[in-house]
Symmetry: C2
Subunit: 98 residues, 2 copies
């Protein structure tokens, strides 16, 4: 059995793992909150968010707080399904090492 057979290539980055795990437990979260929680630069976070959005795993919401733009993100149904599958595959891999 290939121990990494069911791992999702798109989640081959700590940063995307971090974004998805935060969005799993937070309905909607802003770019700045994600950046602080994951201790990242703007550019680094933005590129990973684009990839996740292009693959339909997260949704972007452009809003305003007062006159300031406020971009927030939420997980999609297919994102949740794909990430849960990845976590299960990770757990099976971890079990195989014990």
């Amino acid at each position: 059995m290939n121990p990494i057979g069911n791992l999702n290539k798109l989640f081959d980055s700590r940063i995307r793992l971090g974004v998805m795990s935060i969005l799993m437990v937070n309905g909607e979260i802003s770019f700045n909150d994600l950046k602080q929680m994951l201790e990242l630069t703007d550019g680094n976070l933005a590129s990973h968010l684009n990839t996740l959005e292009e693959n339909g795993y997260i949704k972007v919401h452009k809003g305003f707080v007062g006159r300031k733009t406020n971009t927030t993100y939420s997980i999609t149904k297919s994102g949740e399904k794909a990430f849960k599958g990845h976590l299960t595959a990770l757990e099976n891999m971890i079990k195989s090492t014990r």
Copy 2:
């Protein structure tokens, strides 16, 4: 708390996760066995093995079976320690999503 704070950048690849998890439970394993188990091409596997070796996480053993060269790999103490730390961080991240 940064959910990915303790994740090791070097294990940001399914293939390296696969190699390390196999080496955790197999004292020594050949290039070809790794290639079959992980369903990879020679080049792809070789480049990841080089990275793991350069970082001292695995050791290479060049031997012979009859007149044919037989290269095998094993995990080092520091490799085991780093990978166990990564698995613990993954488990904590998974727990944070539930």
